[in-house]
Each structure stands twice: as C-alpha cells, then as structure tokens.
C-alpha cells in the first residue's frame, strides 16, 4: 500500500518508520553519562573558582535533592501509565467508530481524532487544565475531585487517544479485503469477523507504534510542571529555588533530568525496535 500523506491522514507505515531502525547500543547511555559527569565537573570547577567557602558545590546540591526529584519522577510514571490506559481504551473505541458504516458515528469520530491529532499537546493541556472543572458530579450522585495531576493525565491521554484511533483504523484497513469476504462466506457477521479474525491480526501490527506513543507520552508529561503539577521537572525547579536559585545549578539539574528520562525511555526504544523486527519477520 502506497503511503498517503493527505492532510489529516496518517499511514501506519510512516509511523513505524519513526522507530529507530539502526541497532541501539548500550554505549549511547554511557555517552550521555560521560557528558553529564563532564559538565558536572565544569560546573563544580566554575563554582569553586568563585569562592572557597560559600555554598555547597552544585554536585553536592544535586545529590542532596535527587530523592526529591525521583519522587517527582514517580508521578511522571504514574501519569504515563494511567494516561496510556485511558488513551488505549478510548482510542480503540474511537478507531472502531471511525470505521463504522454509519456516517453519524464515523464522521464525529473522524473529527475528534483529527482535532486532537493536529493540536499541540501544550494547547490541549491548557484547555483541560483551565476549562475542566475541579470537581465533577458523577451521575450516581457522588463527586469526583479532579486534582491537577489527574487533569493533566487526562489531557495527555487525548492526543494519544487520537493517534491510537488512527493506528487501529490503519491496522484494520491494512488487513486484505479477501479476509472479510472469506469470513462472510463462512457466515460470520460483521462483528464476529472483527472480533475473531481481523482484530487479532491487528494487535501485532499495532504494538510497535503503540509503544512508540507510550514513549512520546512519557516524554510529554514534564509539560504538567508548567501548570504547577509537582512531577520531576517541577520538583527539580522547586529544588533549585530552595537551594538559592544559583545559576550554576541549572546545567547539572537539567542534565540530570535529561539523563533520568533517557534512562527510562531508551530501553523502551530498544525493546520496541526488537518487537518490530520480530513481527516484521513473522509477517
């Protein structure tokens, strides 16, 4: 199938070509670590040339605050898991709706998908943070408190939901039409064909792009710090403020945050790549 690039259309092949196709090696991580240590050394030397006594070195300050930043990182992870779960459930539903034979269902599903796929994450985050009420009244009568991190989680799930919807749609469309026809000749209904024949095949094709979106989602979660959610970057910034907002803290703190995310995302990239290769051989 020739990849299409019509406005508002995406093809699954193009998405998966986003994935690293060159073998990833452990030395990338070592390289980053070396860069980190080198810049720490520079920052420390920089600080020491200023005053002999004075405040603790940037490295000592960073070490003191690492547990605090890591606690923030747990929230990043929590947000990424929850948002991915929401995005997957809603996205699969939306993807199936897009393929619905009724225009009343497929058109709105298409609109929602493309609205959220084509808006920046930051804009969606602002919309949800500022316009969704703080407390929701559930139909049953109870109330549900939407704390900031929960709202941010919901906001992050929307663009991923839209992309999962496209992955699902693309994967289903990519199954040869002949399979539908042969299923029909065996007296399968539309739903049965979808459930027992088409979807199981889609899962394999959809897993690598799905994992790729998980990585992108996790890398988006620091945006929540802009709106006061205390995740890793927010905690890092609060720590710098508490430690006197000294400019020589900026390089080691931000570099540490980069390393932290790299240490988590990079193995996922490698894993994604492995799975993609395996399925590429299978099919």
């Amino acid at each position: 199938m020739r990849a299409l690039a019509k406005p508002f259309r995406i093809d699954v092949e193009a998405v998966s070509s986003f994935l690293p196709s060159r073998a990833l090696r452990g030395w990338h991580g070592i390289l980053l670590l070396a860069l980190f240590l080198a810049s720490l050394a520079i920052a420390t030397a920089h600080a020491q040339s200023g005053a002999a006594a004075g405040p603790p070195s940037p490295l000592a300050t960073l070490v003191e605050w690492i547990p605090f930043i890591l606690r923030g990182f747990l929230l990043n992870l929590g947000m990424s898991f929850l948002a991915m779960a929401i995005a997957t459930v809603l996205g699969i539903g939306l993807g199936l709706l897009q393929l619905s034979r009724s225009r009343f269902l497929s058109l709105p599903a298409w609109l929602v998908t493309h609205l959220f796929r084509n808006s920046p994450w930051l804009v969606i985050l602002f919309v949800v943070m500022l316009l969704v009420p703080f407390e929701l009244q559930l139909p049953g009568g109870g109330t549900f408190i939407m704390s900031d991190w929960l709202k941010a989680t919901f906001a992050f799930s929307l663009p991923v939901m839209a992309n999962v919807s496209e992955i699902v749609r693309g994967a289903i469309v990519s199954i040869p039409k002949g399979q539908w026809e042969s299923a029909e000749s065996l007296a399968f209904t539309h739903g049965q064909t979808l459930r027992w024949i088409i979807l199981p095949q889609c899962v394999k094709r959809a897993i690598p792009p799905w994992m790729n979106w998980y990585a992108l989602l996790t890398m988006a979660t620091p945006m929540a710090s802009i709106l006061g959610v205390r995740e890793a970057v927010g905690n890092g910034q609060a720590a710098m403020e508490a430690a006197g907002a000294r400019p020589e803290l900026l390089v080691p703190f931000y570099l540490f945050l980069l390393l932290l995310f790299f240490a988590y995302i990079y193995p996922i990239s490698i894993w994604t790549r492995m799975i993609e290769r395996k399925y590429a051989v299978d099919s």
Binding site: A5, A14, V123
Partner: protein, 248 residues
C-alpha cells in the same frame, strides 16, 4: 483590516459576552499579529534547520568512518529519547549562560536570543528524527544506482546530492510530512522560554482579560490551519515529485 473587523467583534462582545479582544482592541490586536508572525517564523526556521541537519546527518551515516557514524548515532538517540521540554530549558538556561553577549549597560543583549535558542533546540530535536527518515529513504534507493553514479566519476558527495538524495527524498516524503507537522506543533513549547509565539501571546491575553475559552478557540484554529497547510503543501510536493513507477 482592523477597522473592518473591530466593530463586528466589539458588538459580539457587548451582545453575547464573547470577548475576542484581540480583534477589536488595538493593543491586543498588535500583540496577536506579532504572535502569528513569531510563530510562523519559528515554525519555518526550525523546519529548515531540521531538514539541513537531516540531510547532513544522513549523509554522514553513509560515511565509512565508524567514529562519525557513531557521533551522529549518539546525537539521534540522545535527542529522540529525552523530553523536548527539558531540551529547551537545558539549551536556554544551561548553555545560554556560556554564550557571548553584548553589554547594553546593566543587561546583555545575548547574541543568541530566546527566539534563536528555540529555533536551535527545536531544529536539533526535529533533525534527529529527520536523519532517521532520510536514512531509511537512502537505504531504499537501490545500491546499483549509486554504483552507476560512481562509475560516472561522481564524488561521494556528488553521488549523494545529485543521485541518492533526490530519490531518497521522494521515498521519505510521507514520513517527513508527519515529522514536520509534529515539529510545527512542538514549537508551542517555546512558551517555556518566553518566546512570544502564539501560545505565549494568547496566554498573556487570557490572563490579562479573563477570556480563556475564546482565546483557546483561536489557538486551536491557528494550529489546525497551520498544520493543515503544511501537510497539504507537502502532499502537493509529493504528487509533483512522483516518478512514474518509482518507489512502489
């Protein structure tokens, strides 16, 4: 233009309470136009930079030197697997402190402004993806083509620039479209280093005038239009460049 639309939106505000102040208040209108202009420039330059990096990086990856390939490979992995938000902060605050500045008496006009830092950071971020995209395009060009060029005494750069790249570019276009669109959306992150682009500008407008929903609609529309135009433009390019029978 302003005189034409101002009365309409003024009346809309009075009659319905929909406050599109950027369309009837001169100060906010000018701010809005500046925001559009900065956003478009930011998108344009970071896309161009990312393309240059992509082309050069992919070329280096065809080199024989393991060291060169390794460096580009490391660059790709570092920038693809870390959050662009932290990259921006790191560039602006971390590296910004070490770059030359012009003393203006009490403050320094940095030679690299926050706008330039945003272009650099976003271009380098987007470029990491472009290298991969071009590289897989290059791999799809049959080896025999490059060999034929070599036999015609083309140098390695000539072969790359005149033979391999034009073919690879066509193959890469669909994936490239996706990446450039995603890069255009990512430019809104320049907000965190106070580049007065669209997101930052409208954020200021809505905090000054308490008209969040109205400005959100404008913000959505802006990005949907820009993203559609970029995608449509690249699609036209793809059609015009299509070689009959080539690339499947």
């Amino acid at each position: 233009m302003f005189d034409l639309i101002a009365p309409i939106f003024q009346r809309l505000n009075v009659e319905t309470g929909w406050n599109f102040i950027i369309f009837y208040d001169r100060y906010e209108y000018d701010r809005f136009l500046t925001g559009i202009s900065i956003s478009l420039q930011l998108i344009l330059w970071s896309i161009l930079l990312s393309l240059v990096i992509g082309v050069l990086g992919a070329w280096v990856q065809t080199a024989r030197s393991r060291l060169l390939r390794g460096v580009v490979d490391g660059y790709i992995q570092l920038f693809r697997n870390t959050p662009p938000l932290i990259q921006l902060l790191f560039f602006y605050f971390g590296l910004g402190a070490f770059t030359p500045q012009v003393d203006m008496g009490g403050y320094y006009e940095p030679l690299i402004s926050s706008f330039t830092w945003a272009i650099l950071a976003l271009g380098i971020f987007g470029g990491a993806f472009n290298v991969e995209i071009f590289r897989s395009g290059i791999e799809a060009v049959p080896k025999a083509t490059a060999e034929a060029a070599e036999s015609l005494c083309f140098s390695s750069w000539q072969t790359y620039a005149y033979v391999t790249l034009p073919l690879a570019f066509r193959i890469s276009l669909p994936a490239l479209t996706n990446n450039l669109v995603s890069l255009a959306k990512t430019t809104s992150l320049a907000y965190v280093i106070s580049v007065p682009e669209m997101t930052y500008t409208l954020n200021q407008v809505w905090s000054d005038n308490i008209n969040v929903p109205e400005m959100m609609i404008v913000l959505f529309l802006f990005y949907v239009v820009v993203v559609s135009l970029i995608a449509a433009g690249l699609h036209v390019l793809e059609k015009r460049l299509a070689l009959p029978g080539y690339g499947r």
